[in-house]
């Protein structure tokens, strides 16, 4: 009965979203004041119903109800509890249900909380949100029903893909999905504002928390995904320019640009058309990302079941929403009022430049990701990897980082060059010192890592300068957020540059008892022992690591695991984390002569990449809290003003 109840909730929610769209449409067309008043309750109810449907699916997974097809395909009864739970969204149908659930709940949140927007813009926004939801409901109900029953229950469930049994991966997709859906809300706001010709600072302030929230989740999702690929795949790399990774990077780039342009719009009333355009682009990137991943049109490390039919469905949705929004943009953009003017040498100017460069990087990633598709249509198969993305991306990323260092030091409206030069002296000095140190002691390193290290130190110093001379306790949270997020970029950049500049690798066939040096460590290969886990057996190496010349030692246990069902071999890397880097050890096969293959890395400061990612997310969170608190205060203030105004008007009328 649970499955049927869930399906019923899903249908009801879909029907409500249709009602929401129609009510919005009619009331905007000027037919019926009553219709406008039902739209908020409908949106709230829709969110509740779809959330119930999702809870039903989780329940089915926890009970391992094998009469439901999705559960039978994905949930082995021997699976650990956490993965049964996470298995709910670890598959296509469940993840799409999660998508609409987050979407429905965001709709409810807008309906409940958003009070600033003009009411017609609000209605148009909720109608747009409903319009987007309907497509996904249709997708679920007609092509990927998660509650489908089997004709007869199976005795045991499938799906113990060992690669996917990992806590990092269990929570990685939902994090990204929340980010994607947050961008869909920003999209709905943009469409609502376009329809009602209400593109201005108020609209920007209503949209900003959603962009910020989406951006935080995307940042965390990408950081987690990168770390997962790093330790799980056992190749020692942390970014592979794989289509699935690019699919999450592209929305992030667009969201980063949008985040900054929406700030300009909210604060200064400029960049109106550009912000609308970016909101559309950001959501298209998250749809394109989902499409690329789900259609299997591009192959990648992250193997999902390939299904052209589903791909076509998502592509059709993409065409309707993005094509529709761009057409609306073309029709309405000319009516958007000209934004406030500003000098190019100002905070706005720097943000514009930054936005343009981010968009260029986005274009480069998009072109590189789609290029194999394009050539395949002409009959040649190619793959595009780091030799393309690294230098071409850097050509735009490096100038962007310079602008990023200088931008926050400029004032809004206009500023003087002399002041900027004074403030940039310290960062430039830091960068020069880094250059000197690296050239003297760093040995031969590539030009990109060298530039990365220099820029990272300069940017780190520059990003803290906005706090200079401020009372730290009274500094607004959003300033702290900006400082920490920018610092996070510098930290992550430092980790990336350091890893590619100073990474040391040793590949050996080793006999028990032998020692090998890598970086500052000496590793002694002691023995190979068999170990067993709940659903796997493994050969485990016992390796002692000690800093060369010191006494204290640590033990590392890389494994080569064999899973029984399905029969799969995976390799579990062993990591030793120190403040200044990570030791990364992978166990290979046994050779005919009894030696074992070992791959050893010393990666200086590699962890900074993910610490940086976390800092960026934290910065976003602080900014979100700061902005929200400020908005609430301002709202209280505005309401007072409004009352005063009404009183005044009443007074005037009386007079």
């Amino acid at each position: 009965m649970i499955a049927e109840a869930g399906l019923a909730c899903l249908w009801l929610a879909a029907a409500l979203s249709l009602l929401q769209l129609l009510a919005g449409g009619f009331s905007l067309a000027g037919r019926g004041e009553q219709l406008a008043s039902i739209i908020r309750p409908v949106a709230i109810m829709q969110g509740i119903l779809v959330a119930i449907a999702f809870v039903m699916l989780i329940w089915l997974f926890l009970r391992t109800d094998l009469s439901v097809k999705l559960v039978a395909m994905n949930s082995h009864s021997a699976k650990p509890f956490l993965y049964k739970f996470a298995g709910t969204w670890g598959n296509h149908e469940g993840s799409m249900l999660l998508w609409v659930t987050i979407m429905g709940l965001s709709g409810s949140c807008i309906a409940l909380l958003e009070k600033r927007l003009r009411s017609d813009t609000m209605i148009a926004t909720l109608a747009a949100q409903a319009f987007v939801s309907i497509g996904f409901y249709a997708f679920l109900l007609f092509s990927s029903n998660p509650f489908e029953r089997l004709p007869s229950p199976v005795p045991e469930g499938q799906g113990l893909n060992p690669l996917l049994q990992d806590p990092g991966l269990a929570f990685h997709p939902p994090t990204l999905y929340i980010g994607y859906v947050g961008l869909s809300v920003a999209f709905s706001f943009a469409v609502g504002a376009l329809i009602t010709r209400n593109v201005g600072p108020v609209f920007a302030r209503a949209m900003r928390p959603w962009v910020l929230g989406a951006w935080i989740f995307l940042t965390l999702g990408i950081t987690a995904g990168s770390y997962w690929a790093y330790y799980e795949l056992g190749w020692g790399g942390w970014w592979f320019w794989d289509p699935v990774e690019n699919a999450s990077l592209m929305p992030w780039l667009a969201a980063t640009a949008l985040l900054h342009s929406v700030s300009v719009l909210a604060t200064r009333g400029a960049l109106r058309t550009w912000t609308i355009m970016l909101a559309v682009v950001a959501f298209s990137m998250s749809m394109v990302g989902t499409f690329l991943v789900r259609s299997g049109i591009l192959t990648s490390v992250h193997a999902f079941a390939v299904d052209p039919e589903r791909g076509s469905f998502i592509l059709a949705l993409l065409a309707i929403y993005i094509g529709g929004a761009l057409a609306l943009f073309a029709i309405r953009a000319a009516t958007i009022r000209e934004g406030t003017r500003f000098s190019f040498f100002s905070r706005e100017g720097a943000l514009v430049l930054n936005n343009v460069l981010l968009t260029a990087i986005l274009g480069i990633v998009l072109i590189g990701t789609l290029y194999p598709l394009l050539t395949e249509a002409m009959g040649t198969k190619v793959s595009v990897g780091p030799p393309y993305f690294n230098p071409v991306g850097a050509a735009f990323a490096l100038p962007m980082l310079v602008v990023m260092a200088a931008g926050p030091l400029l004032r809004w409206r206009g500023d003087s060059g002399r002041k900027l030069i004074n403030m940039m002296a310290l960062p430039v000095l830091a960068a020069a010192v880094t250059l000197l140190v690296v050239v003297l002691f760093g040995g031969r390193i590539g030009i990109l890592p060298l530039l990365g290290l220099i820029l990272a130190t300069g940017l780190a110093i520059a990003s803290i300068i906005p706090l200079w001379g401020r009372n730290l306790l009274r500094t607004p949270l959003n300033i702290w957020g900006m400082v920490i997020a920018h610092l996070g970029i510098a930290v992550a950049l430092f980790g990336m540059a350091s890893e590619s500049a100073f990474n040391q690798e040793v590949l050996v066939a080793s006999q028990p008892g032998e020692s090998h040096e890598v970086g500052p460590y000496t590793l002694t290969f002691n023995a190979i022992e068999p170990v067993a886990g709940p659903n796997w057996t493994a050969l485990e190496a016992n390796i002692t690591a000690r800093v060369t010349g010191s006494d204290s030692s640590d033990t590392l246990n890389p494994q080569s695991r064999n899973f029984s069902s399905p029969p799969t071999q995976t390799s579990e890397a062993a990591l030793l984390t120190r403040w200044n880097g990570q030791l990364y050890v992978v166990l290979g096969e046994e050779n005919a002569d009894g030696r074992w293959q070992l791959r050893l890395w010393w990666k200086p400061f590699v962890t900074f990449i993910w610490y940086g990612g976390l800092l960026i997310g934290l910065g976003g969170l602080l900014a979100l809290i700061g902005r929200t608190v400020r908005d609430i205060r301002r709202r209280a203030h505005d309401m007072q003003d409004e009352e005063n105004e009404q009183d005044q008007q009443a007074g005037e009328a009386a007079a």
Partner: protein, 152 residues
Amino acid sequence: MAVKAKHQRLTLILLALAALIGAALLAAYALRDQASYFYAPSDIEAKGVEAGRAIRLGGMVRRGSIAQAADGVTVNFIVEDGKASVPVTYRGITPDLFVEGSGVVAEGRMDAGGTFVADNLLAKHDENYMPRELEDMNLDEIKQQAETTVTQ
């Protein structure tokens, strides 16, 4: 230096367009150079590949051809497609599904002596078959395999 509004809008648009077109041109230029093409052994024999260019080589591992070098971490083997064959050398840990007679895709480059130096070996990942029309066997089948091949 306040600028006329209309003027400013135009400048901004031109700036954005210039950056985007610049990015597109740079991308197009780099892609011509940096995209790695897929070759089967017979393609290499027929067309030849410039040494040092990053490519992907796909085919079957010839039976009895896998030999381990004395250092214990380098393998040499021959990849063939029924018409031609290419010797391959790889330093590293081989993937689980890498066995004689199996399909393989290697990423790397040809050296001056006609040996393919692989940086990475990719072996077939997911054999759980969902119906999908397949191409002709032999060469095309191998290419198909390259499409569905993902790294372990």
